[in-house]
């Protein structure tokens, strides 16, 4: 009786958590979409706010971290940009677009680091 109850509990738990996760992803996506719209109009501060919200709502959503990294780069906060790119790549290591963004970022970052140490 008790052994039959365990799979049932797991099944019920899955039924509850999957829609919750889906909701989180859907909310995060909405924030990311809005962030893109405002970034395209040059409103980078608002975009950062939206993408930070998205990353809070669904920390496993790689596009939120990728976009945040780009926005931090645009604002000149290279340390935060690096952390956000690395998080995005951790979540989606095979994503060629994130990799490309990160490579371009590193080119600039390495140059400034080299200049700073001379």
């Amino acid at each position: 009786m008790r052994t039959a109850a365990i799979p049932l509990a797991v099944f019920l738990l899955t039924l509850v958590t999957v829609p919750l996760q889906a909701d989180a992803r859907s909310d995060a996506k909405k924030q990311v979409e809005f962030g893109i719209t405002v970034a395209q109009r040059g409103l980078w501060r608002e975009a950062i706010y939206r993408w930070e919200r998205a990353a809070q709502i669904d920390p496993s959503y790689a596009p939120a971290h990728n976009n945040l990294a780009i926005a931090y780069e645009h604002e000149g906060d290279l340390a935060k940009a690096r952390t956000a790119y690395e998080r995005a790549l951790e979540l989606e290591p095979g994503n060629a677009l994130i990799k490309q963004n990160y490579e371009l970022f590193r080119e600039i970052n390495d140059r400034t680091t080299r200049q700073g140490t001379q």
Binding site: E33, N66, Q115
Partner: protein, 250 residues
């Protein structure tokens, strides 16, 4: 030989495939890069002069001072002081004489000849005095070596050939080539006009080579090489923006 283009092509295909599968948007960005030196304490800049050597066709001291002053006038917020260019070679030689060494320093033909003069940059009292004279500006000085170069090497070039049927082909041909040019090496030194202390120094080195039969005046080669160095020089004193594009993901 073909590994690099194949790798580049495959990464391009990967990026295109990823772009096709994801909602992505290319966006232009401008990354601000802070200046290497905080010049907030200074309102004025004095490009004092340089210890220059190498070819006698170009007066490295005069030309470098003039060029940097004109660049700073248009591209920096600091007020550029107009003054006579300091003859730093003579200043350095005097400094040596007063120290007891009677021998005149050697003419500056090679980079190692500069060593006999470099002590002038560490003369805090001298720079402090210059600073007082010009109301304590940021002082820019350093060394400039503009020397002729000659390189003989095997280079690959393309050559047209026609076969027995008159068909044209382009084939790579390796030929021995004599090339001449110039190198521009040295150091920019930034000195605090209030204390005479060195705030920052930055080494540079650029080369340019032409075919031996091409005649290029030394002065135009000098300006071509300085053109490459100016952005680095300016980035020490003022912030810059690096333009690029990135991909936003949805």
């Amino acid at each position: 030989m073909i590994a690099r283009p194949v790798k580049a092509l495959s990464s391009l295909v990967a990026v295109l495939l990823a772009a096709a599968c994801t909602n992505s948007f290319e966006i232009p960005i401008e990354t601000p890069i802070l200046p290497k030196l905080d010049v907030g304490a200074f309102q004025r800049v004095l490009v004092a002069g340089f210890i220059a050597g190498g070819t006698e066709d170009v007066d490295g001291n005069l030309e470098t001072t003039r060029l940097l002053r004109s660049q700073l006038r248009t591209k920096s917020q600091l007020r550029v002081i107009d003054s006579d260019v300091l003859p730093l070679v003579d200043v350095a030689a005097e400094g040596r004489d007063s120290g007891g060494a009677a021998t005149a320093p050697p003419p500056i033909k090679e980079e190692k000849d500069l060593e006999a003069y470099e002590h002038v940059f560490a003369n805090v009292e001298y720079w402090k005095k210059i600073g007082e004279e010009y109301q304590q500006p940021l002082i820019v000085t350093g060394t400039v070596m503009f020397t002729p170069l000659q390189r003989n090497s095997i280079v690959q070039r393309e050559q047209e050939v026609y076969d027995s049927f008159g068909r044209r082909r382009v084939v790579p041909v390796r030929t021995y080539m004599e090339r001449k040019g110039f190198s521009l090496d040295g150091r920019f030194i930034f000195i605090d006009g209030r204390s005479g202390a060195t705030l920052h120094s930055e080494s540079f080195g650029e080369q340019i080579l032409y075919n031996a039969n091409q005649t290029t005046p030394a002065l135009s080669s000098y300006f071509e090489l300085m053109d490459r160095l100016i952005p680095t020089f300016l980035s020490t004193l003022s912030s810059q923006k690096i333009k690029g594009t990135r991909i936003l993901l949805q």
